[in-house]
Protein backbone atom coordinates (compact mmCIF):
# COMPACT_ATOMS: atom_id res chain seq x y z
CA UNK A 1 0.00 0.00 0.00
CA UNK A 2 1.52 3.30 -0.99
CA UNK A 3 1.53 6.15 1.49
CA UNK A 4 -0.17 4.15 4.15
CA UNK A 5 -0.42 6.43 7.17
CA UNK A 6 2.06 5.20 9.69
CA UNK A 7 0.61 4.93 13.12
CA UNK A 8 2.99 6.65 15.48
CA UNK A 9 2.14 4.95 18.72
CA UNK A 10 5.33 4.52 20.71
CA UNK A 11 3.99 1.89 23.07
CA UNK A 12 6.14 -1.18 22.35
CA UNK A 13 3.53 -3.49 23.82
CA UNK A 14 0.90 -2.59 21.28
CA UNK A 15 0.42 -4.94 18.38
CA UNK A 16 -1.84 -4.09 15.54
CA UNK A 17 -3.33 -6.44 13.04
CA UNK A 18 -4.23 -5.52 9.50
CA UNK A 19 -7.63 -6.39 8.13
CA UNK A 20 -8.64 -6.12 4.51
CA UNK A 21 -12.29 -5.20 4.57
CA UNK A 22 -13.25 -5.76 0.97
CA UNK A 23 -12.98 -5.50 -2.02
CA UNK A 24 -15.52 -8.33 -2.08
CA UNK A 25 -16.67 -8.64 1.48
CA UNK A 26 -20.39 -9.18 2.09
CA UNK A 27 -20.44 -6.37 4.64
CA UNK A 28 -19.21 -3.76 2.18
CA UNK A 29 -22.25 -4.17 -0.09
CA UNK A 30 -20.16 -3.29 -3.10
CA UNK A 31 -16.71 -3.46 -4.58
CA UNK A 32 -14.44 -1.24 -2.52
CA UNK A 33 -11.72 -1.90 -0.07
CA UNK A 34 -10.69 -0.63 3.32
CA UNK A 35 -7.37 -1.59 4.79
CA UNK A 36 -7.85 -1.31 8.51
CA UNK A 37 -5.31 -1.37 11.30
CA UNK A 38 -6.93 -3.02 14.30
CA UNK A 39 -6.07 -2.95 17.94
CA UNK A 40 -8.19 -5.84 19.12
CA UNK A 41 -11.62 -4.86 17.85
CA UNK A 42 -10.89 -1.18 17.71
CA UNK A 43 -9.88 0.53 14.50
CA UNK A 44 -6.66 2.47 14.74
CA UNK A 45 -6.50 3.75 11.20
CA UNK A 46 -7.92 2.95 7.82
CA UNK A 47 -7.30 3.63 4.18
CA UNK A 48 -10.05 3.44 1.59
CA UNK A 49 -9.26 2.19 -1.88
CA UNK A 50 -11.88 2.77 -4.52
CA UNK A 51 -12.08 2.57 -8.27
CA UNK A 52 -12.64 -1.16 -8.69
CA UNK A 53 -15.53 -0.63 -11.07
CA UNK A 54 -14.44 2.64 -12.63
CA UNK A 55 -15.87 2.68 -16.15
CA UNK A 56 -14.75 6.10 -17.39
CA UNK A 57 -18.28 7.38 -17.94
CA UNK A 58 -17.12 10.98 -18.20
CA UNK A 59 -14.77 10.07 -21.04
CA UNK A 60 -17.38 7.92 -22.79
CA UNK A 61 -19.92 10.73 -22.46
CA UNK A 62 -17.67 13.02 -24.51
CA UNK A 63 -18.23 10.70 -27.46
CA UNK A 64 -21.94 10.02 -27.13
CA UNK A 65 -24.89 12.10 -28.29
CA UNK A 66 -27.03 13.40 -25.44
CA UNK A 67 -29.70 10.77 -25.67
CA UNK A 68 -27.15 7.97 -25.51
CA UNK A 69 -25.79 9.23 -22.20
CA UNK A 70 -28.96 8.25 -20.33
CA UNK A 71 -27.96 4.57 -20.11
CA UNK A 72 -24.64 5.64 -18.61
CA UNK A 73 -26.44 7.49 -15.81
CA UNK A 74 -28.41 4.33 -15.02
CA UNK A 75 -25.24 2.73 -13.86
CA UNK A 76 -24.31 5.41 -11.34
CA UNK A 77 -26.65 4.72 -8.46
CA UNK A 78 -28.24 1.54 -9.76
CA UNK A 79 -30.54 1.28 -6.74
CA UNK A 80 -32.45 4.35 -7.90
CA UNK A 81 -31.54 4.75 -11.55
CA UNK A 82 -34.71 6.66 -12.56
CA UNK A 83 -33.57 9.64 -10.48
CA UNK A 84 -30.28 9.70 -12.39
CA UNK A 85 -32.11 9.41 -15.72
CA UNK A 86 -34.47 12.26 -14.87
CA UNK A 87 -31.61 14.39 -13.59
CA UNK A 88 -29.79 13.98 -16.87
CA UNK A 89 -32.89 14.73 -18.97
CA UNK A 90 -33.54 17.86 -16.95
CA UNK A 91 -29.94 18.98 -17.39
CA UNK A 92 -30.23 18.71 -21.16
CA UNK A 93 -33.65 20.36 -21.11
CA UNK A 94 -32.18 23.25 -19.14
CA UNK A 95 -29.42 23.58 -21.73
CA UNK A 96 -31.89 23.52 -24.62
CA UNK A 97 -34.48 25.72 -22.89
CA UNK A 98 -37.19 23.09 -23.12
CA UNK A 99 -40.20 23.54 -20.87
CA UNK A 100 -41.91 20.27 -20.11
CA UNK A 101 -45.69 20.02 -19.74
CA UNK A 102 -47.04 19.77 -16.20
CA UNK A 103 -48.17 16.21 -16.70
CA UNK A 104 -44.61 15.17 -17.56
CA UNK A 105 -43.37 16.85 -14.38
CA UNK A 106 -45.88 14.94 -12.28
CA UNK A 107 -45.08 11.65 -13.99
CA UNK A 108 -41.43 12.28 -13.27
CA UNK A 109 -42.14 13.03 -9.64
CA UNK A 110 -44.00 9.73 -9.27
CA UNK A 111 -41.11 7.82 -10.76
CA UNK A 112 -38.42 9.67 -8.82
CA UNK A 113 -40.18 9.24 -5.50
CA UNK A 114 -40.77 5.56 -6.15
CA UNK A 115 -37.06 5.24 -6.86
CA UNK A 116 -36.26 7.06 -3.62
CA UNK A 117 -38.46 4.65 -1.69
CA UNK A 118 -36.79 1.67 -3.39
CA UNK A 119 -33.36 3.00 -2.48
CA UNK A 120 -34.27 3.73 1.13
CA UNK A 121 -35.90 0.29 1.46
CA UNK A 122 -32.59 -1.31 0.59
CA UNK A 123 -30.50 0.97 2.76
CA UNK A 124 -32.64 0.69 5.88
CA UNK A 125 -33.34 -3.00 5.32
CA UNK A 126 -29.65 -3.77 5.00
CA UNK A 127 -28.90 -1.69 8.06
CA UNK A 128 -31.26 -4.02 9.90
CA UNK A 129 -29.47 -7.06 8.50
CA UNK A 130 -26.12 -5.73 9.64
CA UNK A 131 -27.43 -5.28 13.16
CA UNK A 132 -28.76 -8.83 13.15
CA UNK A 133 -32.40 -8.43 12.13
CA UNK A 134 -33.13 -10.18 8.87
CA UNK A 135 -36.91 -9.99 9.12
CA UNK A 136 -37.35 -6.34 8.21
CA UNK A 137 -35.17 -6.66 5.16
CA UNK A 138 -37.05 -9.62 3.72
CA UNK A 139 -40.38 -8.07 4.58
CA UNK A 140 -39.57 -4.80 2.82
CA UNK A 141 -37.87 -6.41 -0.17
CA UNK A 142 -41.23 -7.51 -1.51
CA UNK A 143 -42.17 -3.87 -1.98
CA UNK A 144 -39.01 -3.04 -3.83
CA UNK A 145 -40.08 -5.81 -6.17
CA UNK A 146 -43.44 -4.08 -6.60
CA UNK A 147 -41.66 -0.84 -7.47
CA UNK A 148 -39.54 -2.71 -10.02
CA UNK A 149 -42.72 -4.08 -11.53
CA UNK A 150 -43.98 -0.53 -11.92
CA UNK A 151 -40.75 0.40 -13.74
CA UNK A 152 -41.19 -2.66 -15.90
CA UNK A 153 -44.69 -1.60 -16.82
CA UNK A 154 -43.50 1.88 -17.77
CA UNK A 155 -40.20 1.27 -19.54
CA UNK A 156 -39.73 -2.48 -19.82
CA UNK A 157 -36.69 -2.90 -17.61
CA UNK A 158 -36.12 -3.21 -13.90
CA UNK A 159 -32.70 -2.23 -12.67
CA UNK A 160 -30.98 -0.11 -15.29
CA UNK A 161 -34.12 1.58 -16.43
CA UNK A 162 -33.14 4.09 -19.13
CA UNK A 163 -36.53 5.60 -18.36
CA UNK A 164 -37.81 8.72 -20.10
CA UNK A 165 -36.39 10.75 -22.95
CA UNK A 166 -35.22 14.31 -23.43
CA UNK A 167 -38.49 16.24 -23.25
CA UNK A 168 -40.60 13.64 -21.52
CA UNK A 169 -41.26 9.92 -21.64
CA UNK A 170 -40.87 7.42 -24.43
CA UNK A 171 -44.48 6.30 -23.97
CA UNK A 172 -47.47 7.14 -21.84
CA UNK A 173 -48.12 5.36 -18.55
CA UNK A 174 -50.76 2.74 -19.27
CA UNK A 175 -53.69 1.93 -17.04
CA UNK A 176 -51.92 -1.09 -15.54
CA UNK A 177 -49.05 1.14 -14.48
CA UNK A 178 -51.40 3.58 -12.76
CA UNK A 179 -53.20 0.67 -11.10
CA UNK A 180 -49.93 -0.72 -9.83
CA UNK A 181 -48.84 2.68 -8.49
CA UNK A 182 -52.15 3.13 -6.68
CA UNK A 183 -51.95 -0.38 -5.31
CA UNK A 184 -48.45 0.31 -4.04
CA UNK A 185 -49.43 3.58 -2.40
CA UNK A 186 -52.24 1.77 -0.62
CA UNK A 187 -50.36 -1.35 0.39
CA UNK A 188 -47.01 0.09 1.41
CA UNK A 189 -47.90 2.41 4.37
CA UNK A 190 -49.01 -0.38 6.76
CA UNK A 191 -45.82 -2.27 5.92
CA UNK A 192 -43.63 0.75 6.54
CA UNK A 193 -45.47 1.30 9.81
CA UNK A 194 -44.76 -2.26 10.84
CA UNK A 195 -41.14 -1.89 9.79
CA UNK A 196 -40.83 1.17 12.00
CA UNK A 197 -42.51 -0.67 14.85
CA UNK A 198 -39.95 -3.43 14.44
CA UNK A 199 -36.95 -1.10 14.69
CA UNK A 200 -37.59 2.37 16.05
CA UNK A 201 -37.91 1.41 19.70
CA UNK A 202 -36.23 -1.97 19.45
CA UNK A 203 -33.77 -2.10 22.34
CA UNK A 204 -31.11 -4.08 20.50
CA UNK A 205 -31.30 -1.90 17.39
CA UNK A 206 -31.26 1.36 19.33
CA UNK A 207 -28.31 0.23 21.45
CA UNK A 208 -26.39 -0.72 18.36
CA UNK A 209 -27.04 2.48 16.42
CA UNK A 210 -27.61 5.40 18.78
CA UNK A 211 -24.52 7.55 19.18
CA UNK A 212 -22.61 5.47 16.65
CA UNK A 213 -20.67 7.52 14.10
CA UNK A 214 -22.27 10.78 15.14
CA UNK A 215 -21.33 13.66 12.84
CA UNK A 216 -21.78 17.32 13.66
CA UNK A 217 -23.46 19.68 11.21
CA UNK A 218 -20.16 21.53 10.73
CA UNK A 219 -18.31 18.31 10.01
CA UNK A 220 -20.93 17.16 7.56
CA UNK A 221 -20.89 20.49 5.72
CA UNK A 222 -17.12 20.60 5.61
CA UNK A 223 -17.11 17.16 4.00
CA UNK A 224 -19.74 18.37 1.49
CA UNK A 225 -22.22 15.78 2.66
CA UNK A 226 -25.69 16.05 1.26
CA UNK A 227 -28.94 14.16 1.27
CA UNK A 228 -30.22 12.10 4.21
CA UNK A 229 -26.77 12.07 5.82
CA UNK A 230 -26.52 15.84 5.98
CA UNK A 231 -30.13 16.15 7.09
CA UNK A 232 -29.55 13.60 9.85
CA UNK A 233 -26.81 15.91 11.10
CA UNK A 234 -29.36 18.71 11.39
CA UNK A 235 -28.98 20.74 8.19
CA UNK A 236 -32.23 21.09 6.26
CA UNK A 237 -30.67 21.15 2.80
CA UNK A 238 -32.83 19.40 0.24
CA UNK A 239 -32.48 20.31 -3.44
CA UNK A 240 -36.20 19.64 -3.96
CA UNK A 241 -37.02 22.43 -1.54
CA UNK A 242 -34.10 24.78 -2.17
CA UNK A 243 -34.09 24.80 -5.96
CA UNK A 244 -37.29 23.09 -7.00
CA UNK A 245 -37.17 21.29 -10.32
CA UNK A 246 -39.91 19.36 -12.08
CA UNK A 247 -42.66 21.41 -10.32
CA UNK A 248 -41.72 20.25 -6.81
CA UNK A 249 -42.64 23.75 -5.65
CA UNK A 250 -46.34 22.95 -6.17
CA UNK A 251 -46.19 20.07 -3.75
CA UNK A 252 -46.67 19.91 -0.03
CA UNK A 253 -43.96 17.93 1.70
CA UNK A 254 -41.64 18.19 4.65
CA UNK A 255 -37.89 17.86 4.90
CA UNK A 256 -37.13 15.61 7.88
CA UNK A 257 -34.10 16.65 9.92
CA UNK A 258 -32.16 14.69 12.53
CA UNK A 259 -30.24 15.90 15.54
CA UNK A 260 -26.76 14.48 15.85
CA UNK A 261 -26.08 12.65 12.60
CA UNK A 262 -25.58 9.20 14.10
CA UNK A 263 -26.65 5.95 12.47
CA UNK A 264 -29.97 5.97 14.31
CA UNK A 265 -30.81 9.47 13.08
CA UNK A 266 -29.97 8.54 9.51
CA UNK A 267 -32.26 5.55 9.79
CA UNK A 268 -35.11 7.70 11.08
CA UNK A 269 -34.57 10.38 8.43
CA UNK A 270 -34.69 7.79 5.65
CA UNK A 271 -37.87 6.27 7.06
CA UNK A 272 -39.52 9.66 7.30
CA UNK A 273 -38.45 10.45 3.74
CA UNK A 274 -40.31 7.37 2.58
CA UNK A 275 -43.48 8.75 4.20
CA UNK A 276 -42.92 12.08 2.49
CA UNK A 277 -42.33 10.34 -0.83
CA UNK A 278 -45.66 8.54 -0.44
CA UNK A 279 -47.32 11.90 0.19
CA UNK A 280 -45.71 13.30 -2.94
CA UNK A 281 -46.83 10.35 -5.06
CA UNK A 282 -50.40 10.68 -3.81
CA UNK A 283 -50.46 14.39 -4.62
CA UNK A 284 -48.95 13.77 -8.04
CA UNK A 285 -51.58 11.11 -8.81
CA UNK A 286 -54.31 13.60 -7.94
CA UNK A 287 -52.75 16.37 -10.00
CA UNK A 288 -52.22 14.13 -13.01
CA UNK A 289 -55.93 13.49 -13.28
CA UNK A 290 -56.56 17.17 -13.94
CA UNK A 291 -54.16 17.22 -16.90
CA UNK A 292 -54.96 16.04 -20.44
CA UNK A 293 -54.22 12.33 -20.41
CA UNK A 294 -52.53 12.06 -23.81
CA UNK A 295 -49.57 14.35 -23.08
CA UNK A 296 -46.38 12.59 -22.11
CA UNK A 297 -43.64 14.64 -23.74
CA UNK A 298 -42.81 18.21 -24.68
CA UNK A 299 -43.19 19.38 -28.25
CA UNK A 300 -39.51 19.35 -29.23
CA UNK A 301 -39.32 17.54 -32.56
CA UNK A 302 -35.61 18.31 -32.94
CA UNK A 303 -34.73 16.27 -29.87
CA UNK A 304 -37.59 13.89 -29.17
CA UNK A 305 -37.57 10.89 -31.50
CA UNK A 306 -40.89 10.63 -33.36
CA UNK A 307 -42.91 7.40 -33.11
CA UNK A 308 -41.83 4.81 -35.65
CA UNK A 309 -45.19 4.75 -37.52
CA UNK A 310 -44.83 8.48 -38.05
CA UNK A 311 -41.33 8.03 -39.47
CA UNK A 312 -42.66 5.69 -42.12
CA UNK A 313 -45.60 7.86 -43.15
CA UNK A 314 -44.75 11.48 -42.43
CA UNK A 315 -41.98 13.45 -44.08
CA UNK A 316 -41.28 15.85 -41.18
CA UNK A 317 -41.02 12.95 -38.79
CA UNK A 318 -38.58 11.20 -41.13
CA UNK A 319 -36.44 14.34 -41.39
CA UNK A 320 -36.32 14.81 -37.64
CA UNK A 321 -35.64 11.13 -37.09
CA UNK A 322 -32.70 11.32 -39.48
CA UNK A 323 -31.41 14.55 -37.95
CA UNK A 324 -31.55 13.23 -34.40
CA UNK A 325 -29.92 9.91 -35.21
CA UNK A 326 -27.21 11.42 -37.41
CA UNK A 327 -26.51 14.26 -35.00
CA UNK A 328 -27.45 17.19 -37.20
CA UNK A 329 -29.35 19.08 -34.52
CA UNK A 330 -28.15 22.47 -33.32
CA UNK A 331 -27.33 22.83 -29.65
CA UNK A 332 -26.36 26.04 -27.86
CA UNK A 333 -22.84 26.70 -26.65
CA UNK A 334 -23.24 27.02 -22.91
CA UNK A 335 -22.37 25.63 -19.53
CA UNK A 336 -25.00 24.26 -17.26
CA UNK A 337 -25.00 22.84 -13.76
CA UNK A 338 -28.16 21.09 -12.71
CA UNK A 339 -28.70 19.05 -9.61
CA UNK A 340 -31.46 16.82 -8.34
CA UNK A 341 -32.01 15.32 -4.94
CA UNK A 342 -30.83 11.77 -5.45
CA UNK A 343 -31.46 9.08 -2.89
CA UNK A 344 -27.99 9.69 -1.44
CA UNK A 345 -27.80 13.43 -1.82
CA UNK A 346 -27.23 16.15 -4.34
CA UNK A 347 -26.68 14.48 -7.70
CA UNK A 348 -25.25 17.13 -9.97
CA UNK A 349 -24.53 17.25 -13.67
CA UNK A 350 -22.00 19.78 -14.91
CA UNK A 351 -22.31 19.91 -18.66
CA UNK A 352 -20.08 22.03 -20.90
CA UNK A 353 -21.40 22.11 -24.43
CA UNK A 354 -19.60 23.49 -27.45
CA UNK A 355 -22.47 23.15 -29.91
CA UNK A 356 -21.59 19.63 -30.94
CA UNK A 357 -23.73 16.57 -30.66
CA UNK A 358 -21.99 15.25 -27.59
CA UNK A 359 -20.87 17.17 -24.49
CA UNK A 360 -17.47 18.82 -24.53
CA UNK A 361 -17.14 17.87 -20.90
CA UNK A 362 -19.57 16.20 -18.55
CA UNK A 363 -18.92 15.82 -14.86
CA UNK A 364 -21.14 13.97 -12.44
CA UNK A 365 -21.27 15.23 -8.88
CA UNK A 366 -21.76 11.85 -7.31
CA UNK A 367 -23.02 12.01 -3.72
CA UNK A 368 -21.67 8.55 -2.76
CA UNK A 369 -18.18 9.51 -3.84
CA UNK A 370 -18.23 12.67 -1.77
CA UNK A 371 -20.03 11.16 1.23
CA UNK A 372 -17.74 8.16 1.43
CA UNK A 373 -14.47 10.03 1.86
CA UNK A 374 -15.26 10.69 5.50
CA UNK A 375 -15.50 6.96 6.18
CA UNK A 376 -11.85 6.24 6.93
CA UNK A 377 -11.23 9.32 9.11
CA UNK A 378 -14.44 8.81 11.07
CA UNK A 379 -13.71 5.12 11.66
CA UNK A 380 -10.68 5.90 13.77
CA UNK A 381 -11.25 4.70 17.31
CA UNK A 382 -14.48 2.97 16.37
CA UNK A 383 -15.29 -0.67 17.00
CA UNK A 384 -15.15 -2.81 13.88
CA UNK A 385 -18.77 -3.85 14.28
CA UNK A 386 -19.81 -0.19 14.54
CA UNK A 387 -17.82 0.64 11.42
CA UNK A 388 -19.79 -2.02 9.54
CA UNK A 389 -23.16 -0.53 10.38
CA UNK A 390 -21.78 2.93 9.75
CA UNK A 391 -20.90 1.82 6.26
CA UNK A 392 -24.36 0.44 5.56
CA UNK A 393 -25.98 3.63 6.81
CA UNK A 394 -23.78 5.72 4.49
CA UNK A 395 -25.45 3.75 1.68
CA UNK A 396 -22.39 3.77 -0.55
CA UNK A 397 -23.27 2.45 -3.98
CA UNK A 398 -20.17 1.26 -5.82
CA UNK A 399 -21.48 2.40 -9.20
CA UNK A 400 -21.94 5.94 -7.99
CA UNK A 401 -18.66 5.87 -6.11
CA UNK A 402 -16.55 5.08 -9.15
CA UNK A 403 -18.52 6.42 -12.14
Amino acid sequence: MQNHPVYTDTDPQSEYSTLNLGPTHPATHGVFQNVLQLDGERIVSGVSTIGYIHRAFEKIAEHRPFYQITPLTDRLNYCSSPINNMGWHMTVEKLLNITTPKRVDYMRIIIMELARIADHIICNGVLGVDTGAFTGFLYMMEYREEIYEIYEEICGSRLTTNIGRIGGFERNFNQIAFDKIRKFVKKFPPVLKEFEALFNRNRIFVDRTRGVAAVSAEGALSYSWSGPLLRAAGVDYDVRAMEPYSSYDEFDFEVPVGENGDVYNRFLVRNEEMWQSLRLIEQALDKIEKEPSDIFHADVPAFYLPPKEEVHNNMEALIYHFKIVMGEVETPTAEVYHSVEGANGELGFYLVNDGGRSPYRLHFRRPSFINYQMYAPMSRGMLLSDAIINMSSLNVIAGELDA
Binding site: I50, A56, H63, G219
Partner: protein, 167 residues
Amino acid sequence: MGKIANEELLKRLDENFAGKVTQTGADFGLLTVEIDPSVITEVLTFLETDAALQFIFLTDLTAIHYPELEKPIGVIYHLHSLTTNTRIRLKVFLSLDNLHIPTASTIWDGANWMERETYDFFGVIFDGHPDLRRILNVDDMTVFPMRKEYPLEDPNRVDKKDYFFGR
Protein backbone atom coordinates in the same frame (compact mmCIF):
# COMPACT_ATOMS: atom_id res chain seq x y z
CA MET B 1 -32.17 35.83 3.32
CA GLY B 2 -32.80 36.06 -0.35
CA LYS B 3 -30.62 35.18 -3.25
CA ILE B 4 -27.57 37.39 -3.76
CA ALA B 5 -27.68 39.17 -7.11
CA ASN B 6 -24.85 38.40 -9.50
CA GLU B 7 -23.93 42.10 -9.79
CA GLU B 8 -23.67 42.40 -6.02
CA LEU B 9 -21.51 39.28 -5.83
CA LEU B 10 -19.22 40.50 -8.58
CA LYS B 11 -18.96 43.91 -6.91
CA ARG B 12 -17.90 42.34 -3.62
CA LEU B 13 -15.28 40.24 -5.39
CA ASP B 14 -14.03 43.24 -7.36
CA GLU B 15 -13.66 45.36 -4.23
CA ASN B 16 -11.46 42.77 -2.60
CA PHE B 17 -9.56 41.33 -5.52
CA ALA B 18 -9.42 44.10 -8.11
CA GLY B 19 -7.96 42.95 -11.40
CA LYS B 20 -7.71 39.33 -10.36
CA VAL B 21 -11.36 38.46 -10.95
CA THR B 22 -13.13 38.61 -14.31
CA GLN B 23 -16.63 37.57 -15.12
CA THR B 24 -16.69 35.08 -17.98
CA GLY B 25 -20.38 34.33 -18.11
CA ALA B 26 -23.62 33.87 -16.28
CA ASP B 27 -25.25 31.00 -18.16
CA PHE B 28 -28.66 30.20 -16.70
CA GLY B 29 -28.12 32.75 -13.96
CA LEU B 30 -25.08 31.05 -12.47
CA LEU B 31 -22.30 33.60 -12.15
CA THR B 32 -19.00 32.32 -13.57
CA VAL B 33 -15.79 34.14 -12.74
CA GLU B 34 -12.24 33.48 -13.72
CA ILE B 35 -9.76 33.84 -10.88
CA ASP B 36 -6.05 34.47 -11.11
CA PRO B 37 -4.24 31.38 -9.75
CA SER B 38 -2.22 33.51 -7.33
CA VAL B 39 -5.25 34.49 -5.24
CA ILE B 40 -7.44 31.39 -5.42
CA THR B 41 -7.02 30.45 -1.75
CA GLU B 42 -7.78 34.02 -0.70
CA VAL B 43 -10.89 34.16 -2.88
CA LEU B 44 -12.18 30.83 -1.58
CA THR B 45 -11.50 31.84 2.02
CA PHE B 46 -13.19 35.20 1.47
CA LEU B 47 -16.28 33.59 -0.06
CA GLU B 48 -16.47 31.01 2.72
CA THR B 49 -15.97 33.33 5.69
CA ASP B 50 -17.65 36.58 4.61
CA ALA B 51 -20.68 37.09 6.85
CA ALA B 52 -22.96 38.24 4.05
CA LEU B 53 -21.93 35.64 1.48
CA GLN B 54 -21.24 32.41 3.42
CA PHE B 55 -20.39 30.07 0.57
CA ILE B 56 -19.82 27.29 3.07
CA PHE B 57 -20.66 24.36 0.82
CA LEU B 58 -18.22 23.09 -1.78
CA THR B 59 -20.57 21.45 -4.23
CA ASP B 60 -18.09 20.26 -6.76
CA LEU B 61 -14.51 20.53 -7.88
CA THR B 62 -13.37 19.33 -11.27
CA ALA B 63 -11.31 20.34 -14.30
CA ILE B 64 -11.61 20.76 -18.03
CA HIS B 65 -9.11 20.63 -20.88
CA TYR B 66 -9.09 23.07 -23.82
CA PRO B 67 -6.03 21.99 -25.86
CA GLU B 68 -6.14 25.06 -28.10
CA LEU B 69 -5.84 27.62 -25.29
CA GLU B 70 -2.61 29.06 -24.01
CA LYS B 71 -3.61 27.95 -20.53
CA PRO B 72 -5.36 24.71 -21.39
CA ILE B 73 -6.32 23.21 -18.04
CA GLY B 74 -9.14 24.86 -16.15
CA VAL B 75 -9.94 23.94 -12.55
CA ILE B 76 -13.60 24.55 -11.79
CA TYR B 77 -15.15 25.07 -8.38
CA HIS B 78 -18.87 25.14 -7.69
CA LEU B 79 -19.72 26.78 -4.39
CA HIS B 80 -23.11 27.05 -2.75
CA SER B 81 -24.22 29.51 -0.12
CA LEU B 82 -26.88 27.58 1.75
CA THR B 83 -28.24 30.52 3.78
CA THR B 84 -28.86 32.66 0.71
CA ASN B 85 -29.30 29.78 -1.76
CA THR B 86 -26.81 31.30 -4.21
CA ARG B 87 -24.37 29.37 -6.34
CA ILE B 88 -21.17 30.55 -7.93
CA ARG B 89 -18.74 28.92 -10.34
CA LEU B 90 -15.04 29.76 -10.16
CA LYS B 91 -12.50 28.90 -12.80
CA VAL B 92 -8.74 28.95 -12.63
CA PHE B 93 -6.75 28.34 -15.78
CA LEU B 94 -3.29 26.80 -15.67
CA SER B 95 -0.61 26.34 -18.30
CA LEU B 96 0.81 22.88 -18.93
CA ASP B 97 4.30 23.76 -17.65
CA ASN B 98 2.94 24.97 -14.32
CA LEU B 99 0.01 22.84 -13.20
CA HIS B 100 0.31 23.86 -9.57
CA ILE B 101 -2.58 25.30 -7.61
CA PRO B 102 -3.04 25.61 -3.83
CA THR B 103 -5.26 22.99 -2.30
CA ALA B 104 -8.77 23.77 -1.09
CA SER B 105 -8.69 20.90 1.40
CA THR B 106 -7.46 23.34 4.04
CA ILE B 107 -10.84 25.07 3.78
CA TRP B 108 -13.13 22.10 3.12
CA ASP B 109 -12.25 18.55 4.15
CA GLY B 110 -14.45 17.36 1.32
CA ALA B 111 -12.08 18.82 -1.28
CA ASN B 112 -9.63 16.02 -0.51
CA TRP B 113 -11.04 13.34 -2.80
CA MET B 114 -12.36 15.79 -5.36
CA GLU B 115 -8.82 17.08 -5.81
CA ARG B 116 -7.44 13.57 -5.97
CA GLU B 117 -9.93 12.81 -8.72
CA THR B 118 -8.96 15.99 -10.58
CA TYR B 119 -5.28 15.08 -10.26
CA ASP B 120 -5.99 11.55 -11.40
CA PHE B 121 -7.73 12.61 -14.59
CA PHE B 122 -6.06 15.92 -15.50
CA GLY B 123 -2.73 15.98 -13.69
CA VAL B 124 -3.42 19.16 -11.75
CA ILE B 125 -1.09 19.28 -8.75
CA PHE B 126 -2.71 20.65 -5.64
CA ASP B 127 0.04 22.09 -3.44
CA GLY B 128 -0.40 21.32 0.22
CA HIS B 129 -2.78 18.42 -0.36
CA PRO B 130 -2.34 15.82 2.42
CA ASP B 131 -2.44 12.73 0.21
CA LEU B 132 -2.31 13.53 -3.50
CA ARG B 133 -2.33 10.24 -5.37
CA ARG B 134 -4.55 8.55 -7.92
CA ILE B 135 -7.98 7.54 -6.76
CA LEU B 136 -10.00 5.84 -9.48
CA ASN B 137 -7.30 4.75 -11.93
CA VAL B 138 -4.56 2.23 -11.20
CA ASP B 139 -1.57 3.54 -9.30
CA ASP B 140 0.99 2.83 -12.02
CA MET B 141 -0.85 4.70 -14.77
CA THR B 142 1.41 7.28 -16.38
CA VAL B 143 -1.08 9.47 -18.27
CA PHE B 144 -3.98 11.71 -17.32
CA PRO B 145 -6.78 10.13 -19.31
CA MET B 146 -9.42 12.89 -19.36
CA ARG B 147 -7.16 15.17 -21.36
CA LYS B 148 -8.31 15.55 -24.91
CA GLU B 149 -5.20 14.08 -26.51
CA TYR B 150 -6.12 10.62 -25.27
CA PRO B 151 -8.66 9.02 -27.56
CA LEU B 152 -11.43 6.93 -26.11
CA GLU B 153 -10.96 3.90 -28.29
CA ASP B 154 -8.74 2.49 -30.96
CA PRO B 155 -7.88 5.56 -33.09
CA ASN B 156 -7.92 3.44 -36.26
CA ARG B 157 -11.66 3.08 -36.08
CA VAL B 158 -13.33 5.35 -38.58
CA ASP B 159 -16.95 5.07 -37.47
CA LYS B 160 -16.45 7.15 -34.35
CA LYS B 161 -14.49 10.12 -35.67
CA ASP B 162 -15.14 13.46 -34.05
CA TYR B 163 -16.61 14.98 -37.20
CA PHE B 164 -19.52 12.60 -36.93
CA PHE B 165 -20.23 14.24 -33.60
CA GLY B 166 -20.47 17.79 -34.83
CA ARG B 167 -16.95 18.95 -34.14
